[in-house]
């Protein structure tokens, strides 16, 4: 169990993380979302013990971030948004180095290295130089490094950046597998649709503050109390848009094309049916009506203002 309580970090007058709190249970995959400079990396670096928080703390299975730093380090696997590989060593040597500093017993090291290489599908590359691997393979090697000591908590900062679609898909599968293994995974990313595909919960951070946090469905449900409807007309969509704008239950309208109108609608199925009847009664040539599903990206755009520190 990871409990983050009021983590705060400022750099001079700049408040990079402001009272960040959340709680994650084993097997949970947590998507950490925010604009550049929102405070994601600062929070992750604090959890990785690379930054000393000004206030607040976190506990991982009862171990305190500040008091039990070395024990926490043994229990986390941190993958930053860069690989930081040593180019001049072989893949197995790289993993052996980290296995040694993570105090993996010498008798088990060979087997452990073999296992993590198999997990990230790099078995055939153990004798290759780390610098000669492709970007996708380097990224998988970095992930293997994170897993070498069987951590409880994985901190993955922008793990998918710069990867091709296939590598991203493989990464997604791998993260899901890690979640199934009971690890707590925190993933920060800008690619929101992908995060939605494998995260159980998300936290949205802006200007250092956690502005929304919880299960993906709960957050989406919270935001999508209003329905988003897309209406296509045969013609004169602007006039229809103006008329719709003044209707009851319609919160906002937006002309998205010559013939299409997007509107925020507050109400249930009955109100929606009434609205459709009224449109037709008014003589607007309605061709189709589609209810847009609210996704993580909509939620993000809705709850954030775009302000950065």
């Amino acid at each position: 169990m990871l409990e983050v309580q009021g983590l705060t970090k400022s750099y001079g007058p700049l408040l990079a993380a402001d009272d960040v709190s959340f709680r994650l249970k084993p097997g949970e995959i947590f998507g950490f979302i925010g604009s550049n400079g929102a405070g994601k990396t600062t929070t992750i670096r604090m959890l990785a013990t690379l930054l000393e928080p000004d206030a607040g703390t976190a506990t991982l299975n009862g171990m305190d971030l500040r008091r039990d730093t070395m024990a926490i380090r043994k229990a986390i696997g941190y993958m930053p948004d860069f690989f930081g590989l040593y180019d001049d060593v072989k893949v197995w040597e790289y993993l052996d180095f980290f296995a040694t500093i993570y105090r993996v017993p010498q008798r088990d090291r060979k087997a452990v290295i073999g296992n993590v290489l198999e997990l990230v599908n790099l078995t055939g590359k153990s004798l290759a130089m780390a610098g000669s691997l492709s970007r996708g393979m380097q990224q998988r090697l970095a992930l293997a490094r994170c897993l070498i000591h069987d951590p409880t908590l994985l901190l993955l900062d922008e793990p998918a950046s710069g990867l091709d679609p296939r590598a991203r898909a493989e990464l997604k599968d791998l993260i899901l597998e890690l979640g199934q293994m009971g690890k707590i995974v925190i993933v920060s990313s800008h690619i929101l649709p992908e995060l939605a595909a494998f995260c159980n919960s998300v936290g949205i951070i802006e200007r250092g503050r956690m502005i929304a946090c919880g299960a993906v469905e709960d957050i989406v449900a919270g935001i999508s109390q209003n329905r988003v409807l897309e209406l296509r007309f045969l013609g004169d969509a602007p006039a229809a848009s103006m008329w719709l704008h003044n209707r009851e239950n319609v919160l906002d309208t937006q002309l998205t094309g010559e013939r299409t109108v997007r509107l925020d609608f507050q109400g249930g199925d009955e109100e929606q049916a009434t609205l459709v009847a009224e449109i037709i009664q008014e003589g607007y040539p309605l061709v189709s009506l589609r209810e847009s599903a609210v996704d993580l990206e909509d939620v993000f755009l809705k709850v954030t203002t775009g302000a950065v520190n």
Binding site: Y11, G12, P13, L14, A48, T49, L50, L51, E52, T69, M70, A71, R73, K74, I76, Y78, P80, F82, G84, L85, Y86, D87, D88, V89, E93, F97, F98, T100, I101, Y102, R103, R145, A307, N309
Partner: protein
């Protein structure tokens, strides 16, 4: 019992089974570069030996007495060792710098520090990997020296003692580069600064030895510098009535210095406010106390103590030593006294003087920590003399005061340099600190020296340089100290006013956006 075994296993892990040193050595030895370099090095040594042999045989028409050969072989051994020391001085800091700065550049340092290792483990790994390489270089000259042992001229003991001291010098040069590498962003400048620091550290025992040599006594300090290591062979220093070999005392002093530099490097690496930083700062204070007490004791033991009218004007050996300690502390100022909004965020200024933060490592802790260090050094150097004649202590007071003022002036340069150059990060602040130091201490001195040579009046040359106080009369030292303290106060105040104004501007820019 458990704690002891844990401690021992931790030491074993750090010093013997250090994964970082294995990895670095593996990288250093990989590929063709290292064998080629070592082959060229050995080839050069053999070539030098051949040229030397030809020189001997041709000069005497092929008939040379064995005593002549033995004398020449001793000279040859000196030459080979000199070349090796030079090579070690060049290679050791470069290896450390490329290794540590390389970690910064590829950002792998974050990966290491998110694993369960501390700064000590990391730095010892870097130290040992370079040291192993240096030892390899030193011991490669064994075949060349063996000729001297076989034919006479040098003894096995001489070779063993000399190679051991050469390896200790290599260890010292490696350690000197550690703090510099930990605060540099580029390999070449780091290596260049380290080389300068190595030269300075090789020269400083010579300065400190002046009173000792003037008194006709040997000093362990000689074994600490390659310039004097060979003549110091077989000499001893009388400590508490026991003749201790100088190579042993020199090695112990080097190990202490290595510890000081490692702690300095650790402080540069650790996070502001972390337990690591506090522990390292406490270590620094302890080490400064230990070094000053030990050297102070040995100074008293090895030379007839001269409280005034010593070899360097009015200052005693202890005062000269204290001044040298202050020079060392001055070198640490670019890391203790600078701040910047545009750099690593632990350098953000959080005040001028916050004594309660002295051990935390932020800019506001710079001045209190510095004062703690200088105070510790003062007590360490002079405390033991309280048991002797107190009146001699007061004779050194003006020099101690001037040394304090010198360090505080340096601190004010750092604070002002941060105000003017901080927008380029702490490296900009440090560059300005260096510029102020050079301009204040060197340029007027050079200019006045030139003027005095034109006017043929030597008194003009000594008008400016405040650092000549150490060789001056007590009143002059007092006056120069007062001048430096005044300058430090004025510069420090201006810089602080500027910093506050800059802080207000930053507040209005960020807060409430």
């Amino acid at each position: 019992m458990r704690a002891v075994t844990d401690w021992m296993s931790e030491q074993w892990r750090t010093y013997v089974g250090n994964a970082g040193s294995v990895r670095d050595l593996r990288s250093n030895m990989r590929g063709w570069n290292t064998p080629v370099i070592l082959f060229c090095y050995l080839g050069f040594m053999v070539l030098a030996a051949g040229v030397f042999y030809l020189g001997i045989s041709s000069s005497a028409g092929g008939k040379v007495s064995i005593s002549r050969i033995q004398a020449d072989l001793t000279g040859f051994a000196y030459m080979v060792l000199g070349m090796t020391e030079l090579l070690v001085g060049l290679i050791a800091p470069a290896l450390v710098c490329s290794s540590i700065v390389g970690e910064y550049q590829r950002r792998s340092i974050d990966l290491v520090f998110s694993s369960p290792v501390g700064t000590k483990y990391f730095l010892i790994g870097k130290l040992l990997s370079s040291y192993r390489y240096v030892v390899l270089l030193i011991f490669m000259i064994l075949p060349v020296l063996s000729v001297g042992v076989v034919l006479g001229g040098i003894t096995m003991r001489w070779v063993a003692e000399t190679l051991f001291m050469a390896s200790m010098h290599g260890l010292l040069y490696t350690a000197v580069a550690l703090p510099i590498a930990c605060t540099s962003a580029k390999i070449v400048p780091a290596a260049a600064y380290s080389l300068i620091a190595c030269i300075a550290i090789a020269l400083q025992p010579l300065i400190l030895m002046v009173p000792s040599l003037a008194a006709g006594a040997s000093s362990f300090l000689a074994s600490m510098t390659p310039f004097m290591a060979l003549p110091s062979q077989g000499t001893t220093t009388l400590l508490f009535g026991t003749a201790m070999p100088n190579w042993l005392l020199g090695s112990l002093a080097i190990l202490l210095l290595v510890r000081v530099f490692t702690v300095g490097a650790g402080s540069a690496l650790s996070q502001a406010g972390s337990a690591d930083t506090m522990s390292l700062r406490i270590h620094s204070l302890f080490l400064v106390a230990l070094v000053t007490v030990l050297v102070s004791l040995s100074l008293g033991a090895s030379i007839p103590f001269a409280p005034s009218g010593g070899s360097a004007g009015g200052a005693s050996g202890h005062a000269i030593f204290f001044f040298i300690v202050c020079c060392y502390l001055y070198v640490s100022l670019p890391f203790v006294s600078v701040w910047s909004y545009a750099s690593d965020r632990k350098s953000y200024p959080n005040g001028l003087f916050l004594a309660r933060l002295a051990l935390r490592g932020t800019p506001a802790s710079g001045l209190p920590f510095l004062i703690s260090l200088v105070l510790t050094a003062t007590l360490g150097t002079f405390a033991m003399r309280w048991f002797g004649d107190l009146s001699t202590l007061f004779l050194d007071a003006p020099y101690v005061f001037a040394s304090w003022a010198f360090v505080l002036l340096g601190w004010s340069f750092g604070w002002m340099g941060s105000l003017l150059g901080g927008n380029q990060g702490v490296s900009g602040s440090r560059r300005l600190f260096m510029a102020f130091t050079v301009v204040f201490f060197t340029v007027p001195w050079v200019v006045l020296g030139w003027i005095s040579s034109v006017l043929r009046d030597s008194s003009v040359a000594t008008l400016w340089n405040p650092l000549t106080f150490i060789g001056s009369e007590p009143q002059v030292a007092m006056a120069k100290g007062a001048g430096m303290l005044l300058a430090a106060t004025v510069i420090g105040l201006f810089a602080e006013i500027g910093r506050k104004s800059q802080a207000q501007s930053m507040e209005s820019r960020y807060v409430g956006v």
